[in-house]
Structures are given as structure tokens and as C-alpha cells.
């Protein structure tokens, strides 16, 4: 990542880390089970390289299912929750209601992961976010997720964290993108945080 001086990078990484930790704690309480989160990875990606960057982070060339969800306030961005083709089917018993379809479960779990992680991250920067409803992207491969020529940004800050639920065959890569002008707002929030230390 090259977004300025090392102190800034370290602070951003630390804030993301704290946010994700809080999200993991909240999710564990909600699901009443132990959630394993990887150390978040931050990367500044150019539009042309985004598919390769996602493929490297998710580390699969096979088919995946994905859910997207937008968030906005002073910063705007979008999150992708990427699963293997099994999706969230193994988690049906974790949500507290019967007769849940695969799609509804996928949307429910994705919304919870995105809301918890991006929300916790935003609170680290004292940002209030609102979220769009999640929507399922077409079944595809990782490199087919984003139609690169159609992307309306030049570069984006990408944060990735991997969720696993201990004792279950479930894994989800949560990728959060802050494109273009949102990077500046985010870095300004980091600077404000550093100035308060």
C-alpha cells in the first residue's frame, strides 16, 4: 500500500484491525459461536488490476457466489462478500428462524457481515453510514465478478478480511472498496485521529 507516510498507513491498518475485531466480537455474540477473522489486508488498486487483485486475495479460480452492498455518507463505497458455491447453506441453523431459502440466507449473512465490519470500521473514523439493501451477483468466477471497463473509478482502497466459523465448513471473503474521492476522506479521518493522539 502506498497512500502516504508509514505512520498514516500504520494508523489506517490499526483502525481497520480494531474495527474488524469489534465486528468479530459482535458477530460471535449474535451467532453464539466463535468467529475467526484473518488479519485485514489493505491494498490500493488500480481499475485495470482489480480483478487480479481480488483473485490473489480470494485465492480461487473456481466458481463463486457473491453479494454486493453499498454504503454511503461522507464516504461512499461498496462491499463484496464472496463465498464458495456452497454459499451459506451450512449456516441455516445459526439464524433464528425456520424455512429460510438459500438466497435469503446468503443475503442475511452478507448483510450482517458487511454491516458489522463496515459499520465498526466507520465508527473508528467517527462516520455515520447508511447501507443499501444487499443484492446477489450472478454466479461467476472471481475474475468475472467485476466488469473492469465499466467500473466508474480509477483507483480504490481495498480492505479484505476472511471469516471462518470454527467447526463449520464456511468461509467468506469480505472485500470493502473505497473508490477515488472516498480515499481522501478516509485519510483525512486518519489524520484527524492521529492529531488527537
Amino acid at each position: 500500500m502506498r497512500i502516504g507516510e508509514p505512520e498514516r498507513c500504520d494508523a489506517l491498518a490499526e483502525l481497520v484491525n480494531i474495527g474488524m475485531g469489534q465486528a468479530g466480537d459482535a458477530l460471535a455474540r449474535l451467532f453464539d459461536t466463535f468467529i475467526h477473522l484473518s488479519i485485514p489486508r489493505l491494498e490500493l488498486v488500480e481499475r485495470a488490476q482489480v480483478s487480479a487483485a481480488i483473485a490473489a486475495l480470494v485465492d480461487t479460480t473456481g466458481p463463486v457466489v457473491a453479494v454486493r452492498q453499498a454504503f454511503s455518507s461522507r464516504i461512499r463505497g461498496e462491499a463484496l462478500a464472496i463465498y464458495s458455491t456452497a454459499g451459506c447453506d451450512t449456516l441455516a441453523d445459526l439464524v433464528g428462524y425456520p424455512d429460510v431459502s438459500s438466497d435469503e440466507l446468503l443475503l442475511e449473512i452478507s448483510n450482517i457481515l458487511v454491516g458489522a465490519c463496515v459499520g465498526a470500521l466507520a465508527s473508528q473514523f467517527s462516520l455515520e453510514l447508511s447501507f443499501s439493501p444487499p443484492s446477489i451477483m450472478a454466479d461467476t468466477t472471481v475474475v468475472g465478478l467485476l466488469d473492469t471497463p465499466q467500473l466508474p473509478w480509477d483507483r480504490a482502497l481495498l480492505a479484505e478480511v476472511n471469516f471462518r466459523i470454527v467447526g463449520r465448513a464456511f468461509s467468506c471473503h469480505l472485500l470493502t472498496f473505497w473508490p477515488d474521492e472516498s480515499i481522501g476522506v478516509l485519510l483525512h479521518a486518519v489524520d484527524t485521529f492521529l492529531a488527537q493522539l
Binding site: 433464528g96 435469503e104 454491516g115 447508511s130 439493501p133
Partner: protein, 407 residues
């Protein structure tokens, strides 16, 4: 109040799930005014609500402080509200998108605001789109069925046109099988007579009888094996023809399966022999071609069409007793398998080259061609196999048609 003017339902519940806000939209559509529900527990007021589902949603928002959503696509409605189409109808209840928003205070989320949006129009549009999609799928399936029938009809027509020739092909070996078997019958009678004579001949006459029979036995010894051989070859030829007809006529059902194109070419050559044997010599150069996924019965039809066309072109360019040549080659590379059918016939005039694959275009006399052959051949190669069918031609020198099928 502003929220009362919204064309959407808005209500809030506190941590005990007691209703703390209830806007006019909710009151109007539920038939329960605010003063009847405020301060009362949500499920006590509306026992018909899906309680486990709604409790989970509210719990997640209280616990995580995040938004939650529900789409009409997964759950058509939360409340059984009347739809907004009292005149036009077409739907049972108002379809709803639901959003759950945390309302935070100093000590965390103290209530959840629930937004109920009327999504009936979107649901009806989507249903119409879905119905149109289904109709399109049905029409495509029907079109596919008609195309399949057309291909089959053309194939039967082609076989029908070859039927007289095929009957002749079968009749010729049957004739010499019959002759040979008849000869064998007579030979057996002769041998039985010789055996009888040897049993009954007097000792003093044995010398004369043995000399006469020796000549006859020598004749039979020479000709019986030849007759057996002719009969077996004739039967083998009939068996080959019947086998080829069976393979050629196999209906194309289901998906593609791996097939040997060299075998398909030789089978078709057997079937089509009456079309070319009097006018052309065949040069067959079969390469080391791997099996390819294909509808082989349909490809047989393509090869038959190309061979019959080549025979017609050769016959026109080389009137009897002269003969032309049809050269058939197969080969492959890493991406595709190729089959070419080349003739030294008339070639295709330049002004009709762009039309040879057009349906119903033909240069053959009435009764000889329907103009469907190359059109269907191209459809089989291109549409059914993602391949190509191309040609190279020189007037007065001949044409080469090339089938390319991806591996």
C-alpha cells in the same frame, strides 16, 4: 407530521418490542390507528406476523447496531396489507421491501425503526418480465423442435432419394449369393451321387467309376470353395450396407457424444455409393483424428449432402463414360477437427456463391433438390456444433467444402 405524509410504512419498536411510533400509512393499511397500538408489544398487536424471523431481524439490529433488510423477492410481505390495485388487481397483497434501521442513543441502540416500502409495482413488472422470459424459452424450444423436425425430414428425404440406389446395392450381392448357394446345392447333389456310386459299384467296375468321378471331384474341389467365398463376401457386403444404414439413420437424441468422424465419413460413403460410383472415383485420406463431441447422426447428413453435391458437380463436368474424382480428407490440429470434400466438377459460378447457404436456393432441376441441403448442413455445423462450413471454388476446376469442428 411529515412521516405521516410518506407513502411508506414507518414504525418503531423499543428493546421490549413495544411500538413507539406508528405512521398514518401503517394505520391506514393495517386498520389499526396509532392509539390502538402505541405502547403495546408488536406481536401482541399483530400475532399473524412471522415471529421467529422478525425477532431475529430486530435482535441483529439491536445487537450489531447495523441495518437489516428484507426483499419481497424472498418474503413477499411482512404485513398483509391490501394492494394498490383495487381496479386492475393481479396480485394478492401489497408486496413489501422492509428496512430495519437502528436508532441510537448514548448507550447504544434504543429502538429500531422499520420502513415498509410498497414494492407491488416492481413485483408485477418482474412477474411480467419472468412470464415473457418463460414464453421466450417456450418459443425457442418450439423453434428448436421445428428445426429438428426439418433436419430429420431432410435427412429422410435424402435417404429416400438414395433408396433406389441402396436397393440396387443390396440386390447385386444378394444375386450372387443366391447363384453361389444354388451352385453349392447342385454340387452337394453331385457329391452325394458320387458317394452312392462308390458304395454300390461292383468290384470289377470300380476302375471306370473312379476315373469318371475323379474328374468331377476335381471340378467341385476347385469351384465349391470359390462359391462359398463369393457367398460370404456377398453377405458381408449386405451386412455392411445394413450396418451403415442403421448408423446413418440413428436419430439424434440428447446431447453430444464423442464419435469417430472417420467412421462417420466411411459410413456415409457406403450409403451414398449409388450417387457417385458411376461418375466418380473416391480418394479417401483419413487422418489420425481424435473423437470429437458431436451429434454424429447430424454430421452424417452434412457429409452426405457434400458428397451428393460433389457427385452432381462431377457428373455435370465429366459426362459418361468419363469419370471425375471426389477427394475426402480428415485431419485435426490442437483446436479443431477438419473434414474436406473436394471435387473436380463444374465449380460454383461467382454470382451465386453468396447464396449457396441460403434456404431454398438450388441450381438443381426440379425434383432433384429442394435447396435445403447446404442451408441445413450449415445450420448443423455452425448452430449445433459451433463450427464453420466454408468453401473454395474455381469455375471449371471444382470446389472444396471444408467442415471445421472445435475439439
Amino acid at each position: 407530521m411529515t412521516l405521516d405524509r410518506l407513502n411508506a410504512g414507518v414504525f418503531s419498536v423499543d428493546r421490549q418490542l413495544k411500538i413507539v411510533h406508528w405512521n398514518l400509512f401503517m394505520a391506514t393499511n393495517s386498520g389499526r390507528p396509532a392509539d390502538q397500538v402505541l405502547g403495546r408489544e408488536l406481536f401482541a398487536c399483530f400475532p399473524e406476523l412471522p415471529e421467529p424471523w422478525l425477532r431475529w431481524k430486530l435482535r441483529s439490529v439491536f445487537l450489531l447496531g447495523t441495518f437489516a433488510f428484507s426483499s419481497w423477492k424472498q418474503r413477499p410481505y411482512l404485513f398483509k396489507f391490501p394492494h394498490n390495485r383495487p381496479l386492475t388487481g393481479g396480485i394478492d397483497f401489497m408486496h413489501q421491501d422492509i428496512a430495519f434501521l437502528p436508532v441510537t442513543a448514548e448507550d447504544g441502540v434504543d429502538s429500531v425503526c422499520v420502513l415498509v416500502t410498497d414494492a407491488t409495482d416492481a413485483a408485477l413488472s418482474q412477474r411480467a418480465l419472468h412470464d415473457a422470459h418463460r414464453r421466450l424459452e417456450r418459443e425457442m424450444a418450439e423453434r428448436q423442435r421445428v428445426e429438428d423436425e426439418l433436419r430429420l425430414a431432410h435427412k429422410l428425404e435424402a435417404v429416400g432419394q438414395l433408396a433406389a440406389g441402396i436397393a440396387h446395392e443390396i440386390n447385386t450381392p444378394i444375386q450372387y449369393v443366391a447363384d453361389s448357394v444354388s451352385f453349392l446345392g447342385e454340387a452337394f447333389d453331385d457329391m452325394r451321387a458320387i458317394i452312392e456310386r462308390h458304395r454300390e459299384a461292383p468290384v470289377n467296375g470300380a476302375q471306370r467309376t473312379a476315373a469318371a468321378d475323379s474328374a468331377e471331384l476335381s471340378y467341385l474341389e476347385h469351384n465349391v470353395p470359390a462359391a462359398v467365398d463369393r457367398a460370404l463376401k456377398g453377405l458381408e457386403r449386405v451386412a455392411t450396407l445394413v450396418r451403415a444404414m442403421k448408423e446413418f439413420g440413428q436419430p439424434s437424441v440428447g446431447g453430444k457424444s464423442f464419435a469417430d468422424l472417420n467412421r462417420a465419413v466411411t459410413t456415409t460413403l457406403t450409403i451414398a455409393s449409388s450417387a457417385y460410383k458411376d461418375v466418380a472415383d473416391i480418394e479417401l485420406e483419413l487422418g489420425d483424428v481424435l473423437e470429437v463431441p458431436c451429434h454424429v447422426a447430424e454430421l452424417n447428413q452434412v457429409f452426405l449432402q457434400l458428397i451428393v453435391n460433389a457427385a452432381d458437380a462431377v457428373a455435370e463436368a465429366h459426362p459418361a463414360p468419363a469419370r471425375g474424382t471426389i477427394r475426402i480428407r480428415t485431419w485435426c490440429n490442437a483446436e479443431a477437427v477438419f473434414v474436406s470434400v473436394a471435387d473436380n466438377g463444374t465449380g460454383i459460378p461467382e454470382d451465386i456463391r453468396s447464396r449457396v447457404f441460403d434456404p431454398f436456393f438450388t441450381t438443381k432441376p426440379v425434383g432433384r433438390g429442394t435447396g435445403q441441403g447446404l442451408s441445413i448442413a450449415r445450420s448443423i455445423v455452425v448452430d449445433r456444433h459451433a463450427g464453420t462450413l466454408s468453401f473454395d471454388t474455381t469455375v471449371g476446376h471444382g470446389s472444396t467444402f471444408l467442415v471445421r469442428l472445435p475439439r
